[in-house]
């Protein structure tokens, strides 16, 4: 059933997006791991068909920042991207039911 498939996808998305990384003192690995988590959250959002245009851009910019050694900048961008990805997945979960309330009858 279509709905069940969707719920499963969204549930998997939530699981992926909450899996947290172990903090490492190193600023670079912090940034890299934040960006990995962000990318996972973005993928989960895409799978739920709710990805935002802004999320991938944040990650892309963060990866460039890592190359330039701007780890703080990358970390904050990827934390934001991760939040966006997670919010998109939540949005998908809410809309799974909410959309029907907007249909005129």
């Amino acid at each position: 059933m279509k709905m069940m498939k969707k719920i499963t996808l969204i549930a998997i998305g939530l699981l992926i997006s909450v899996s947290s990384s172990i903090a490492i003192a190193d600023a670079k690995s912090d940034a890299v791991s934040a960006c990995g988590a962000a990318e996972n959250a973005r993928k989960a959002a895409a799978q739920a068909k709710m990805e935002w245009t802004t999320t991938g851009k944040l990650i892309k910019a963060a990866n460039k920042a890592i190359e330039k050694g701007q780890f703080d900048k990358a970390l904050s961008a990827c934390n934001k991207a991760k939040f966006e990805g997670e919010t998109s997945v939540k949005q998908a979960g809410i809309e799974l039911l909410a959309w029907n309330s907007r249909v005129p009858n």
């Binding site: 969204i10 809309e95 909410a98």
Partner: protein, 282 residues
């Protein structure tokens, strides 16, 4: 965020589903009637047949400029180019007529339709590329250029016919495609958290900055469109993508399943209205 919260969401979702399973199932025809009534009540001085003119049905000042442009619209050059493309034989000597038949005036009105063999919604643009591939030609890109010119030529020949999208009663897959399109239309998405219906239904006739939001009723009747903003012709799915980007939702592929199903739903909502594409838009 904890796992408990996540589990709670999932549980709520499943509970909701169970509740929904018991609710009365809406029929497409019931949907269409309610959809059409929504707009004819909201814009009670506008005849239903005028909604095919999009935002110009509800914006008198813009309509004057639009009519000046439609007097000799820029897409006439594209229609001519589309005709040349349509009539030109493929390398194997066959033409598009070998796929679409000899009566050009009926082609536009056949799409979108439910393709029972492929079990997908078939659109005009997808059919054009299927025809090309069946004749060993490379497929065209879906948003603009040659495919939009071909589509505009076919649309022009089909002007005046009524939209009459059919959802086969014996196909649950067709019904599911329709339902998916409907869900897409009413689901909020993007960073701005807007659904298609938030702008083009609940707020139709209201302004976003300087722009008046057009009613969704009639939206599919006049594509492809030459948009001044694009400086050229574009397909319906190009426009869908633009709308999604406006609410900061990552657009789906043109002619992908999501947009084809959305086209199926929206076109069904326009059943009975006149086909009047191609059109000029701001």
């Amino acid at each position: 965020m904890g796992y408990i919260k996540m589990i709670r969401i999932t549980a709520l979702t499943i509970l909701g589903l169970i509740l929904f399973a018991g609710a009365a199932v809406a029929t497409p025809e019931g949907d269409r009637k309610a959809f059409s009534d929504f707009y004819t009540n909201r814009f009670s001085d506008i005849p239903a047949s005028d909604f095919v003119n999009g935002v110009y049905a509800i914006d008198a000042a813009s309509r004057v400029q639009w009519e000046q442009i439609e007097d000799f619209p820029p897409y006439e050059l594209d229609i001519d180019d589309g005709e040349v493309l349509y009539q030109a034989p493929f390398a194997n000597g066959k033409t598009y007529a070998s796929c679409f038949g000899d009566d050009l005036s009926v082609i536009r009105g056949k799409y979108p339709n439910w393709d029972a063999d492929k079990a997908i919604v078939m659109t005009l643009e997808l059919a054009i590329n299927n025809c090309r591939e069946a004749n060993n030609e490379k497929p065209l890109k879906y948003k603009k250029g040659a495919i939009a010119q071909l589509s505009s030529y076919i649309a022009m020949q089909g002007r005046g016919n009524s939209i009459n999208v059919v959802i086969p009663a014996d196909s649950s897959a067709a019904m599911e495609a329709y339902e998916n399109g409907k869900e897409f239309f009413y689901s909020k998405r993007g960073q701005l958290n807007f659904s298609c219906s938030d702008c083009h239904m609940s707020n139709s006739g209201n302004k976003v900055r300087a722009d008046l939001l057009s009613p969704a009723l009639g939206h599919t009747s006049h594509f492809p469109v030459y948009r001044s903003k694009w400086g050229g012709l574009g397909t319906l799915h190009r426009r869908f993508g633009g709308c999604n980007k406006n609410v900061r939702a990552k657009p789906f592929s043109a002619q992908g399943e999501e947009y084809r199903n959305l086209e199926y739903f929206l076109s069904y909502m326009n059943n009975g209205l006149e086909l009047n594409g191609p059109g000029a838009r701001k």
